[in-house]
Symmetry: C7
Amino acid sequence: MLKPIADRVIIKVQEEKEESVGGILLASNAKEKPQVGEVIAVGDGSVTENGTKLPLTVKVGDTVYYDKYSGSQVKFDNEDYLVLHEKDIIAIVE
Amino acid sequence: MLKPIADRVIIKVQEEKEESVGGILLASNAKEKPQVGEVIAVGDGSVTENGTKLPLTVKVGDTVYYDKYSGSQVKFDNEDYLVLHEKDIIAIVE
Amino acid sequence: MLKPIADRVIIKVQEEKEESVGGILLASNAKEKPQVGEVIAVGDGSVTENGTKLPLTVKVGDTVYYDKYSGSQVKFDNEDYLVLHEKDIIAIVE
Amino acid sequence: MLKPIADRVIIKVQEEKEESVGGILLASNAKEKPQVGEVIAVGDGSVTENGTKLPLTVKVGDTVYYDKYSGSQVKFDNEDYLVLHEKDIIAIVE
Amino acid sequence: MLKPIADRVIIKVQEEKEESVGGILLASNAKEKPQVGEVIAVGDGSVTENGTKLPLTVKVGDTVYYDKYSGSQVKFDNEDYLVLHEKDIIAIVE
Amino acid sequence: MLKPIADRVIIKVQEEKEESVGGILLASNAKEKPQVGEVIAVGDGSVTENGTKLPLTVKVGDTVYYDKYSGSQVKFDNEDYLVLHEKDIIAIVE
Amino acid sequence: MLKPIADRVIIKVQEEKEESVGGILLASNAKEKPQVGEVIAVGDGSVTENGTKLPLTVKVGDTVYYDKYSGSQVKFDNEDYLVLHEKDIIAIVE
């Protein structure tokens, strides 16, 4: 598996369902909106200037909203993941 | 429900009433102006370089003014919310 | 009333008198110049990295000069106010 | 009088004499050059992250060179002043 | 051999296999995607403001994903390497 | 004389000799290159966030190389000087 | 000789050999690539906010790779040198 570095988090993105009305597929809204995914792996936290390690808030298994367009896509074992910094995660579904 | 991360706050935006004069709908003022909403959820506060957690000032239930265009929109349970950093909130109605 | 957050200050802007010569209204000077207002409310001060709260220098009732174009306009109880960070205030009239 | 905030300084700008040769007024040099003024008032110093107040180096009465185009112009009692941050002052005439 | 400075890491880049379908070579995907390489050498860690040395997380021999386009290419003993800052490494293959 | 503020240094610029070949004056090289001058006055050093004053490395009388285009020109007693931050000085001639 | 300031390093650049194939001179690769040089002199290290001096890692005599286009060229005693910050050095040849 992949182990993210420092404050990074690996996300399995939840596919966005395209909306359709009466069978006509609607283009998704052009406005930038956050997306949803499941946390697959988390880093050990970033290290501050004085050497303190700051553990992450999100945990493996969390469903999270994140800022669209943040992060980098990686392919591993034929699966696509998104790797982003925890600061790009905006909320956890509780 | 959604739990915002760190210094983030979830806002239920108060709809802006469109002004009308004698039944004629007026376009809203083009000048950038702050908007109003109710705080629905708050994060646990951001963590500083030396590991101190800084709790938020705003509380759930507060009516707040925030900088227009700040934050990210999220849809949850068919409701639209706005998630923003506390620094984008400019004042609390007391 | 409105309570500004952290290092923010609410200002009631002093109307700029338009200059007129012999009844002819002159356009105000195009050069960017600071403006004057009265402090209506102040925040509790911003919190630094180590958790220290830094109280503001300006007080309610002060007449202050501030950098034009800084801050956000808010409407509250049918009155217009300006909310700005204390750093955008340049001098107090004594 | 005006009291500048934090690390700000109020300057009474020394008028630049236009050079003339044989009565022909010469346009001033297009190159950006610092200007000279007298310090009229100084702030109490800016406050650092840990709450330390850093007093200013310049004093009322100092003649100083400052970076042209820095600062904001204010009009007070029909006099024009320049308010700038101490960092925009480059040297004191001794 | 080369010894990277501070928080730098030397990577031997794993060649990206061009995909082909039925013998027709396909252009690689235009989307920016991370790449994979093996860590060949690591720096001693960067030094913080208070003189603390922060050791690196990645080790020689690790297979890592890194942000495409980050780092500098160096040629040494007729081999091409990539030198990048550890922060440009996004995950380790475990 | 002029006393520079904080980490500033006053330089008397050493005139660049135009190169000529066989009496034909050559345009100076278009590439950006550092220049040389003599240190005439130095500031008392900048003050850090915790109030520590950091004395300068260069001394009055030093011949120094500095980054071309850095600093501000000042005229004092009919002489031209250059005032720059110590960080814009790149080396001292020993 | 020249003494670099703070975290600066003086490099004697190693000439890049132009490649030729069968006597035909090939233009060097257009891709940005690091270059190699010998360290001639090093500064005493930069001073941090709390007054700590951070000594450099590279030593006089080291052969180093550095980011192309970083640093400033200086001419001294009819020799050309490159002065750069240590952070622009990416690796030492061991």
